[in-house]
Amino acid sequence: MSGHGTAPGAVADRTPADDAPVSSGFGAVAGRRLRGVRGATLRHVPRSPGAVLSVLVLLLVLGWAVAPEWFTGQSPTAGTPAERFRPPSGAHLFGTDQLGRDVYARVVHGASLSLRATVVAIAVALVVGILLGLAAGSFGRWADAVIMRLVEVMLSVPPVLLSLTIVAAIGFGTVQVAVAVGVTSVAAFARVMRAEVLRVRTAGYVEATMLLGSRWWRVLFRYVLPAAVGPVLALAALDFGLVVLAIASLSFLGYGEPPPAPEWGALVADGRNYLATAWWLTTLPSLVVTAVVLAANRLSRILETRGERP
């Protein structure tokens, strides 16, 4: 599912041409990139109601992850057998499950597992992807050919299958799932990074600075990396929602922490057996996952469009 992240990137908008034809639109493009980097700060984001809501959802989940005990007094693991299958009420916001455990408490305590997995996955994708892309773009034709073939192969296995293969090989658990999901995004990050390196390498101003005696490593640090930060972070933001989704799916399939760990996907999977009698067991945790993914995607789209059009 993180395959969505590899959809063709935004094509630079064409500005309506007015006067004087002789020169091209380089200034506009350069200017937009510049503003993109500056504009993509959080301070610009919360304007529309949707954006405010998204920020609130993510802050709430972050709070759940950091200090779950502030949000619920109930235990996520210990149940009261007498209170099995209670529908949502004031006492149990999300109702209780087959063992009488409070579902809301389980969701709140599951947040830290989900968030940790997401962070690990994105870190794996970022670090490995950036290094591969940088090497492919910098070290000449052989390295480029080998690395890009590798990337092509990674993209040629559907993302979910790729992560399933890795899980099959390295075993089950939150971290294992996170690594498996992160690897599926590596290819996309490597591509973006390589494209940025090549774009900057062939830019007129880099040729100009090489003529002025700059060395390659200096160009790398002063020109390539700063230029690549924007697109790579935009991709990371876009990837966030997809990663949450992929991790929840793998956890749903049963590859996460063993029970009774309250991973979100596993909560939904557990509830499947009681679809007819206890709708809340699947529906409410599903809604939480959906809300987080929606909020993350919404915010990353805002960041992306701010970057494109100040």
Partner: protein
């Protein structure tokens, strides 16, 4: 570049990708931690204590005592002959398992693909044709919403409402057309959203190209511009999405078949991973990358049909 050369290049690439996926899966499953024999024996159950002799004998039986390159060579040769090994769990040949499960998954995937393509394209086009700004805004934000929905959540919600509550469709394990509706829709929703996003973006770009202005300046209306010029040009970058879509459907089938307890490739995969049945996992990966490569080959062959510039140069023109 001659057409024959273009074709040869693309076919070669597809073959390479399948070979590489096989190799990658082989490497991932043999080199990463985890002893396949111990796994297998414990998987078949019954052995609480494994004597070293038992293990050695089992290894020799499976050819796992030979050096890795030799194992790899044999596995590759076997795979070329259509032999992907046997399941560690059941001992059944992997190819047989796949052959049994494939029809059901093909029906599901094919239906979902058709649904996703038609619904997605219709959504993208209508978002551009809609006259009312409010409707346009709604149609444009729909794909971004749909792509965020976890398919297990969608599937379970559909079962809850349409099967459990209103009894419109069989809930679990249903076969036949009625049993196909809910899983296919669940699988198609994110796919349709993906198609709508990519095609919509592409249309948006194309309609701002200078040649779109030329068409407007001849007095052509919106519909003629969109259907006569926009779609054809927008389709060139957008057909790439078919490849992505098939990749997504293969992965999505794992979740959807599990949700609906539908027999098929997805269920086999889910079970194989859960029991770390490595030969089966490897077989599924090879098959998936084969399907993926064939689809992408088809996409590559579609480009020159759509874009005369590729016919001339053999290269994708991004202007």
């Amino acid at each position: 570049m001659t057409p024959a050369r273009y074709l040869a290049g693309r076919v070669l690439r597809a073959v390479f990708v399948v070979w590489a996926a096989f190799t990658l899966a082989f490497a991932a499953l043999r080199l990463l931690p985890g002893d396949p024999v111990a796994l297998m024996l414990s998987g078949r159950g019954g052995f609480d204590t494994l004597s070293p002799r038992d293990i050695a004998r089992a290894k020799a039986e499976l050819g796992l005592d030979r050096p890795l390159p030799v194992q790899y060579g044999h596995a590759l040769l076997d795979a070329l002959h259509g032999d992907l090994g046997a399941s560690l769990q059941t001992g059944q040949p992997v190819t047989r398992m796949i052959a049994d499960a494939l029809p059901s998954t093909l029906a599901l995937g094919g239906t979902a693909l058709a649904l996703a393509l038609t619904a997605g394209s219709a959504l993208a086009v209508s978002a551009h044709l809609a006259v009312s700004p409010a409707v346009r805004q709604l149609l444009r934000s729909l794909p971004a919403f749909a792509v965020s929905l976890p398919s297990f959540a969608v599937g379970l919600l559909l079962i809850q409402l349409l099967s459990v509550r209103w009894h419109l469709f069989p809930s679990l394990g249903g076969t036949g057309v009625a049993g196909l509706v809910l899983p296919a829709c669940t699988l198609a929703i994110p796919g349709a959203a993906l198609v709508a996003q990519v095609l919509g973006k592409s249309l948006h770009t194309v309609l701002r190209e200078p040649y779109a202005d030329t068409v407007r300046a001849t007095g052509a209306g919106r519909a003629r511009l969109l259907l006569g010029h926009g779609l054809r040009n927008a389709a060139i970058p957008a057909v790439t999405v078919v490849g992505l879509l098939v990749g997504y459907l293969i992965g999505g089938a794992v979740v959807v078949e599990t949700v609906f307890s539908r027999p098929g490739m997805g269920r086999i995969t889910q079970a194989a991973v859960a029991t770390q049945d490595l030969p089966v996992v490897q077989g599924v990966v090879v098959l998936a990358s084969f399907v993926f490569a064939v689809v992408n080959l088809g996409v590559d062959l579609l480009y020159p049909v759509l874009d005369p510039r590729i016919r001339a140069t053999g290269r994708l023109v991004t202007s």
